[in-house]
Symmetry: C2
DNA sequence: TTGAAAGCGCTAACAC
DNA sequence: GTGTTAGCGCTTTCAA
């Protein structure tokens, strides 16, 4: 019965649209079983050389390509990993993604992308959707996981690695830098340069790196050095936000700034220039990120150099191990950063 | 027999790891057939209200989530589209991707990402891999499709839309701007401002937008206006490339530049400033792209504003129609651009 | 409105 | 080294 259908389809194909060649067709043409074709396709060694060659010839002639969806269903592995990212147009995430992508490619994984910046879908819906697609693993780079999302991750066996972020309880594997130490070192530089009225400019105040790290480090530092004027500016996400914020900064007599995004820092720098405020004489500024923008703006920004590409790459490498049921040497990798001095500080 | 296995698994689940609830389990618990559960899950109206509610209650209780891989195999639709992009850290592609992503989300498609910047895999291998995963459609935004890739696309029924690029023969649906007109308008501005020694600075000279559009428009323009000194600089991709290139530009006495990337333009601008060359008095420059960088660099860049987000969004919308077997009103959409004058030209 | 059953294209025991 | 066969979890006729 099936063979009738096959024959019919074959006849159709001659006149109609492009065929879908299946493993079944290859087996028939090569006069072997499906299992043997499967073995050849998957590089299994238990195939006689001549058989292999015969099968490969047919595969070539018929332009056979395995259906990865069927493979996925049968083998329970999709060779696909989910990537959860807030916004690809933010260079921070683009750089992380590149590291992830390169290692994923190396290990023959595809990437299923999910943005969560969008308000159309909640984060937990996005994650559930990804898991329903049977991804073998997930890399999470968003700012803060909500409770529902955590619950979902806990209910599944799919391994998860956080890249460039972490959860407060360290329940998930993660790759980060020491954000607190970086923050303190940067503040230390400003203080050493004689600045006393130090401010913190961040994008999302609720993000783990800010709330649980930079804010803490900043407050510690201020207390340690007996500095009373605490200035934390939140929601400064764009160049324009930075440019606008400068008025406030000036009104507050701030003379030293750590900005978490360098587009924001660039906005502040340009606004200062336009207002005749001299950098670094009257105002010093350090960016906690470092993309192209940091070297394009004049004066060039002193930055905390995060190894974003490496963070992504290491996270993906860790994920490949987890997907392979290997043990991790370290579930919470902390990569080194460097404070790169440039013209926006003395 | 099956039921034995089920019972065994259920017993296991109580002690062991997290379960995988299937449509079969839901059907049994709700005392209906798999078909009915399937209908409920897929919002089919042919289900009595009470039955639906009963099933939904069980789904909720069991935390049932459909296996999208199995759905894909059975229905031959994966609700996934492939995205082929050279480099996500290039803002041009990041912006395009955002438009694509938003519309994809709106239509409930996931995005399977494939970078082709990587030399590990050829473009055609990447594309074949995407198709093997049974994506319902593909958005292609790379620079130039090689022949093998075209062949693969032609052999498949999977619809393809090119975003921000096109093929010379217009065989594929595409969304672009009128690159030639934009180029000529920009050159016209430089000429009007008294610049005579006009140069073109591009990244990839083999890219369709350059080879078949900007180069052609440039050469036309030069001929039309009887300008003899043709200067085309290729492979200027980064800020540093731009900065380095300035020496050559100066040596060639160029006084007007169109640069296709604004990081490159920024490099040229900063190099000019460092060399004491005045912009726009001695050298005018227009960027054919416009990202944040164009407004951060001083003097701000005059740019050709491409509606990148819209190009991506329209391309994805077109793809949804093609995947739905709808007719397209127009297979080659051309979106408007604007020449936005700023401080890098008079 | 519901159910039974035949696939979707492949993998992986298991048998030979 | 190769074939047989029973699934993977779902959709989709077709019949009732």
């Amino acid at each position: 019965m099936i063979s009738y259908k096959r024959v019919f389809l074959q006849e159709c194909e001659k006149f109609m649209q492009k065929q879908e060649v299946t493993i079944y067709d290859v087996a028939r043409e090569a006069k072997v079983s499906m299992a043997t074709v499967s073995r050849v396709v998957n590089g299994n060694n238990n195939v006689r050389k001549e058989t292999r060659e015969k099968v490969l010839a047919v595969i070539d002639r018929l332009h056979y390509q395995p259906n990865a969806v069927a493979q996925g269903l049968a083998s329970k592995r999709t060779t696909t990993v989910g990537l959860i990212v807030p916004d690809l147009t933010n260079m921070h995430f683009a750089e992380l993604s590149k590291g992830i992508d390169d290692i994923a490619t190396m290990y023959k994984y595809n990437i299923l992308l999910s943005s969560v910046g969008n308000t159309l879908l909640n984060e937990d819906q996005v994650i559930q959707n990804l898991l329903n697609k049977q991804v073998d693993g997930v890399i999470y780079m968003s700012n803060l996981m909500n409770e529902k999302a955590q619950e979902i991750f806990n209910r599944t066996n799919t391994p998860v690695v956080l890249a460039g972020t972490a959860d407060a309880n360290q329940e998930f594997s993660s790759v980060t830098i020491d954000y607190k130490a970086a923050e303190k070192e940067a503040l230390g530089l400003l203080l050493k340069n004689g600045k006393k009225n130090l401010a913190l400019v961040v994008g999302d105040g609720k993000a783990y790196v800010n709330k649980d790290n930079r804010f803490v480090a900043y407050k510690d530092f201020m207390e340690e050095h007996n500095l009373k004027n605490v200035h934390i500016y939140e929601d400064a996400k764009t160049y324009e936000d930075g440019y606008e914020l400068f008025k406030q900064i000036k009104a507050d007599n701030v003379d030293g700034i750590i900005a978490t995004r360098d587009v924001t820092a660039a906005g502040i720098v340009n606004a200062a220039a336009d207002a005749g405020v001299k950098i670094p004489e009257d105002l010093e500024i350090i960016s906690a990120a470092s993309t192209n923008v940091a070297k394009i703006v004049r004066p060039q920004l002193t930055t905390v150099q995060q190894p974003l590409y490496d963070i992504g790459a290491v996270a993906m490498r860790m994920l490949t191990k987890l997907m392979n049921d290997e043990e991790l040497d370290d579930s919470h990798v902390i990569l080194p950063y460097t404070l790169k001095k440039s013209r926006s500080t003395k």
